[in-house]
Symmetry: C2
Subunit: 539 residues, 2 copies
């Protein structure tokens, strides 16, 4: 685990230490400016921002902004390196920065903690932007232990929230995405990320927002605008059009506070792993899981993991096959078996009392055994690291295991998630797996993938892993990613979320009417286009 | 039940028969025109609409449009009587009508089936509008029995959908609001109505929309714009900003298709009633129910019914107290007791297998008995009509029992729902009940109310019942309603939904920033302001 530790520290260090060390550098920046912004405008914006947040929290030269430009997605032309970064501490400072951005027409790219590995981290979609890094706004403003709700700022991490609950003996769980310790609930929810517990559809469990609009006014959604309301975090919809969705995967405002629902800790938690031995078992597994999910007998967001994805978390590729050789099923199967894994391993859990868990377990056992799976629990899997990984996540626990993916093809760590959606049907998943393998194989990459089985949908989560230290491989990864998006799109399979490298491409797939409507909203809400141009393909 | 039958037929007849009888009348209308619309514009719009949908489906004279102007909410000045009505059958006809509306700047007020009793039925918020009645667009376009999803048009009723499921032996339930048989799932969901099963938060279970925008283009939300997608009804969010919420409680477009999730029929369904004997038990009940709801041990949307509300469904007021006398607690208690009811009767159900229900039942029994309630089931309540009413609704069954409310104070049936939100806390509910009783009492009306106990919130649903055939009483009801909204608002309690009579008033409570933002969106999306001006206070 020592390499692993190193990698972890490297990752965190990149943004935190880097920023602190070179905080007072000048704003002499050789990068591309945003369209219509002059060098003087940019310099003016940087100067004005310094007067708002202090010199030490504004970064305007290439070396200083480097941490915010680090991406794992393919970026062969360096399009995603920002021009600057600014770190406000209060909502008033955010308002001032938005006013400055409008004055100089200088685009700003808001991030929460910017740990969106495989989707672009802190980096903007288009050149010339200043990253608005909200990590210093990290207050937990309220936790209501009775209602199971909280109100937090964007810089709060999952780790911080969990520590707060633990320290105060509040029997509520959080629901984490991968790399939860360093990631932000606000950032993940606004990207509509998913987790592992019954509260895994993060946007569903969001309740109330405070948003700094592009005109610098503060909008509170839901019940948040009612003076004296105690229901801001209790009731999602408010009155009139429900607008919270507008501020997810978009660039219509800057979320400075967000309410969330937290799951009460159940008396009993029992994690399961279903082991299937063959790659071809995909449709059987989906067909067996769907009724359990639709009926809520299995209430959490399941992860159906391919062995190759799992191996990539804790192994290097050349431990499985020699460098340069395709990752063949036989080799994967052998390595999987040696580690207690099948070719597909599906993780879910039961939550309840001894009695309710005992009542449901026989039903799921019968259903999944009939699908050809082995039903395994802690009794059989013991401290198997992969079982431990999911068992931790499914009770809202934290780990950084997935950072290991970056080491699969060497220290140069490249990762881009491709995440096409499908209805939860066996034939859909079978078709997607087949197509993904064909495309990845053609470009010389591995099928390291999982399915997140939602209530009625699948997120097929494909990790495109490559060595970013090899410029040729980065170009190939870029081409492969575009091929995946385009070819899947033609089959009717589009992404639920994508990295800064592919936002425009995916937006095109959702059609012109959709784009026109988003653009209409953008022009009305942000006429100067200063908030995150290019986010989700909205300029 | 015969009076009841009569009333039911009266209600349905009002819109269906009325419309058919006078379909060919002229467009000579003496009503108020919309601002900026001349008599010639209106006539031009009516004429053009006739050329689109046929003469027999356009109504332009006062007598012909009467059915669409019938409201139960107070409307002492007749502000909510529309100028016309048009009933298209296809989305292309809707597009044409929208183009006509833009050409003549003639506002149109879209309704699904317009059976929104107590919130305004088919009637527009402001004068001069033509009702766009979508009842003829009533196709069930798809039901996916495996995924538990459907795609329907706005004119489909809950009855129609239930019949379709029954006729085709599809083991899926619907979730109904009151007066489900004649109401529309699309209309109710767009108003963010709630029902009685675990799928009771209707908007949560909506998935995918087709919307005719004010520019007559067709927007498909979520995955609906992806050619060949099978996930339109499986995955809610799509990519980029989630915009479905914009088309709820608003006037930004006309929803012509909507996807919904349907709950799989559970093997076992067991309804409960918890009987509490005193008005003052309010906080105890909420405090006891909240943990059951937050933990999802009780998974459905509970109704905590006051005895007076329940009596008003099946009795006339003068069966309880003589006309003119206040409805005192002692008289209510006596009548309640005679009918097997306490002063508060809380209905919920368990859904699952024999084993899961048996596992949960002791927990809820212990919790609710400790709150001073009697835990009752079908074994004790038998065919008690109130128990039967809720037992039917909580399994997605249909009835029109609540139409009985209109008879409480005589045949003149007046009803306005006042529905302030609160966090699910005993003290909040106690305060709301106290305040509501004071205000209603001051104006001479009864506290006939319930709490819908959501996941973490309360909808306090207060039926303001009055005799609409008495103009003085209608004026008093109007004043009382405004007092309720205003006084509750000052305490931080605002409505989750309101009738056409009070949309402006409630919108004011949500504050100027909220209003400005909605207006910004309105101006961008509907620059001529032709879709439903006044809806949710957005002009």
């Amino acid at each position: 685990m020592s390499e692993f530790e190193l990698n972890r520290r490297g990752l965190i260090g990149a943004s935190v230490l880097g920023a602190a060390m070179v905080g007072l550098a000048s704003c002499d920046n050789k990068g591309t400016l945003a369209p219509g912004v002059s060098k003087a405008d940019f310099a003016g914006a940087i100067k004005a921002m310094r007067s708002v947040v202090g010199d030490e929290w504004v970064f305007g030269d290439p070396e200083a902004v480097m941490p915010w430009g680090k991406v794992y997605v393919p970026d062969p032309n360096g399009r995603h390196v920002p021009l600057g970064a600014v770190c406000p501490r209060t909502v008033e400072e955010v308002q001032e920065i938005v006013r400055i951005a409008n004055k100089y027409k200088q685009p700003i790219w808001p991030i929460s903690t910017g740990k969106n590995m495989g989707y672009g981290m802190a980096a903007p979609a288009t050149p010339g932007q200043i990253v608005l890094d909200l990590k210093r706004m990290n207050r937990i403003l309220e936790v209501d232990a009775d209602l199971g709700t909280c109100l937090i700022e964007p810089g709060v991490t999952y780790q911080q929230l969990k520590d707060y609950l633990d320290d105060n003996n509040i029997p509520l769980w959080i629901d984490v995405p991968t790399v939860g310790p360093i990631a932000s609930p606000v950032g993940n929810t606004l990207d509509r990320g998913v987790g592992y517990t019954p509260y895994g559809e993060h946007f569903t469990f969001q309740c109330g927002m405070e948003v700094v609009l592009p005109n610098a006014e503060i909008l509170r959604t839901g019940m948040g605008s009612i003076e004296g309301s105690t229901a801001w975090q209790a009731f999602k919809w408010g009155y009139g059009p429900y607008v919270d969705g507008l501020f997810t995967q978009s660039n219509f405002g800057i979320v400075t506070k967000m309410g969330m629902w937290l799951m009460p800790r159940p008396p009993v938690y029992k994690p399961f792993m279903i082991r299937h031995d063959n790659m071809a078992d995909v449709p059987k597994i989906i067909e067996a899981m769907r009724p359990l999910r639709v009926s809520s007998l299995v209430a959490n967001c399941n992860l159906m993991m391919s062995a190759s994805y799992q191996l990539a978390m804790f192994k290097r590729r050349n431990e499985i096959v020699p460098d340069g050789q395709p990752l063949d099923d036989a080799s994967v199967k052998k390595a999987a078996k040696a580690n207690g894994l099948g070719m597909w391993n599906t993780y879910f859990a039961l939550y309840g009392t001894e009695q309710t868990v005992a009542a449901i377990e026989p039903i799921i056992r019968a259903q999944l055994t009939a699908s050809g799976g082995e039903v395994l629990t802690a009794a059989e899997m013991g401290d198997n690291p992969w079982f431990h990984h999911h068992a931790t996540l499914m009770e809202g626990g934290l780990n950084l295991d997935e950072i290991g993916l970056l080491r699969w093809r060497g220290a140069g760590g490249g990762l881009a998630w491709f995440a096409p959606v499908a209805a939860a049907k066996g034939a859909e998943a079978e078709g997607q797996t087949k197509l993904a393998r064909e495309i990845l194989d053609k470009h010389g990459f591995d099928y390291t993938a999982a399915y997140a089985i939602g209530w009625r949908d699948l997120h097929h989560i494909i990790a495109l892993l490559y060595d970013k230290s090899d410029p040729e491989q980065e170009k190939k990864a870029d081409a492969c990613y575009q091929d995946l998006v385009t070819t899947f799109g033609k089959k009717g399979w589009a992404s639920y979320r994508t990295g800064v490298n592919s936002m425009e491409l995916v937006a095109q797939q959702y059609g012109q009417t959709n784009r026109d409507f988003n653009k209409l909203l953008k022009n009305a809400i942000d006429p100067n286009g200063v908030i995150a141009p290019g986010k989700s393909g909205i300029a």
